[in-house]
């Protein structure tokens, strides 16, 4: 895999403060080759029969592509289900938009990755009841919140500013989705402590910055995200992100 891409710098080996490792630890970005020349184009599976997203920036883009595929497949299934068919127009409008957005995201990554894209993943939504509103909204919230946490936790692994910018363009849309789905389930739950480290003023609430908590989203690292995502992917379509720890 990633035959055309330089191997990732091994995380454990450097033993001297070479200029190279110093740059890495000081966070300086490295030059990145053309995206279309790089990536994971043979869908190699690792020991756990998982599809690894690869390494470097193409790996992160494939990681995003995998999650967007999952979301796109989910909303396509929602639109084919009994809940959607019987839903009021207001809710249909929301799911129509969500389905379009996620399919656009998935198609975008597929095009951008070109030959470096991982294969089309087969979802497993057997635990979701597409005839039941609560089941659909619960799953939608899980996917959207996961997407936000995943993009935020992956930003640190991106080396090319242009790719970080694209991730930023998408993650805020995922957050808009997540907040709306949460509000549909429980009004005013657009931020809550499960996804945001809520801030509680310790004194006068009108004095800024004094209290407990941070108001920060609870970002998640790829290793945690893939475990959740894999619950909704069939054997042979489960993913790993072994280069991003």
């Amino acid at each position: 895999m990633t035959k055309l891409l330089l191997p990732p710098e091994p995380a454990a080996q450097p033993t001297s403060t070479s200029r190279r490792s110093f740059l890495r630890y000081s966070g300086a970005t490295m030059a990145v080759g053309g995206l279309l020349l790089a990536g994971c184009d043979d869908d190699s599976e690792n020991g756990n029969n998982r599809i690894d997203v690869g390494s470097g920036d193409p790996g992160i883009l494939n990681y995003a592509y995998a999650l967007e595929q999952l979301e796109a497949a989910f909303y396509a299934a929602v639109k084919g289900g009994a809940y959607y068919t019987g839903a009021p127009a207001s809710e249909k409008q929301i799911f129509d938009d969500l389905a379009l957005h996620e399919q656009i995201h998935a198609d975008f990554f597929k095009t951008a990755l070109g030959n470096g894209a991982i294969k089309a993943l087969e979802p497993d939504f057997s635990t979701i009841n597409f005839g039941d509103k609560n089941s659909v909204l619960t799953a939608a919230q899980a996917f959207e919140d996961l997407g936000v946490a995943a993009y935020n936790g992956a930003g640190r692994f991106i080396t090319a500013p242009g790719y970080l910018a694209v991730a930023g363009k998408i993650v805020s849309v995922e957050a808009r989705h997540a907040a709306l789905i949460r509000d549909l389930r429980s009004y005013n739950s657009f931020v809550d402590n499960d996804v945001v480290d809520l801030f509680t003023p310790s004194g006068n609430a009108s004095t800024p910055g004094v209290g407990n908590g941070t108001g920060l989203e609870r970002s998640k690292r790829p290793a945690e995200v893939v475990e959740t995502a894999n619950q909704f992917l069939k054997e042979g379509s489960k993913i790993s992100a072994n280069s991003f720890k």
Binding site: T17, E91, Q93, A112, G155, A160, V166
Partner: protein, 321 residues
Amino acid sequence: MDLFKLIKEIEQVDPEIYDRLDSRRRVFKHFGMAGKAVTAAVLPGLVSGLFQRAYGQGTALPADIVAVLNLALSLEYLEFYFYDSGLKAPNLIPTADRPAFEKIRNDESGHIKILKQTLGSLAIAEPARSAFDYSGGRNPTPLVGDTAVGNGPFRTVFTAYPIFLGVSQSFVDTGIRAYKGGAPVLMPNKDVLEAALNIHSVEARHSSHVRTIRRGITNVANPTAPMNAQPKSWVSLQDNGGPSPDTNPSTRPVYGAGNPASSSDPLALVFPAEDNVTHLGVAIPGNATAASEAFDEPLDPTSVKNIARNFVVVTSGLFPA
């Protein structure tokens, strides 16, 4: 990677490194990691945090990162006092919506806490409520009182809920674009970057909710309704210029193009309007409205400041050109 060896080598460059690190052993206590295995995987974050502590909060940050964080902090103050004033205004926010705006106000307070901690002594001086004119009138002098406003077009902001919501949407959407524009500058410091991303998405959650309120959550499906008053929870094309396109100040720049708006280099950092449908040189085919909604756009610092400056009193010095 041997952390102690790294420190020893830094010693050759900076003989005072050990004064900065109180002792080798306590280094790990700083991180709450005493007794835990330090694996290679956690080292980069550990080392960057270590340097931040050793060299004092903020003082080791490069100037461009400081500029991004101070602009973010300024925007957080703008938002914090806006929501705090709204919550203090009598008969403005309906009971059902107060929990939402308390959450938003408190989130902004948390963001201020984190940004101040990161910037340390390099943070801007904390402005008072009197530094802001939420009427959009740029009052020449400080405004005394929790809900005092100048004579701008949004002077009913703390008495008319729809105006409050429209100004709120403009602030949050500006904030989202500002963080998005600033994020690439933060890339050399991964922990600062991740914190900023974790603020950015929370601002987007806020925007979604404020838009949902504006639309009326029970009256979602009217795709022909004007986006100005009944926005979707995401930005659609340029949202028809936003909540108040024809006032001065106008909300059009919140959704319009920044500078530079385009480049021949697909990886270049550009600031197109919200109706942009081309990313990394890939033009999204098909439905342009949906394509525009699927991606938010960043905004450059100058354009952000030009928007925000309309809501501070002239003498405040906030959002300098």
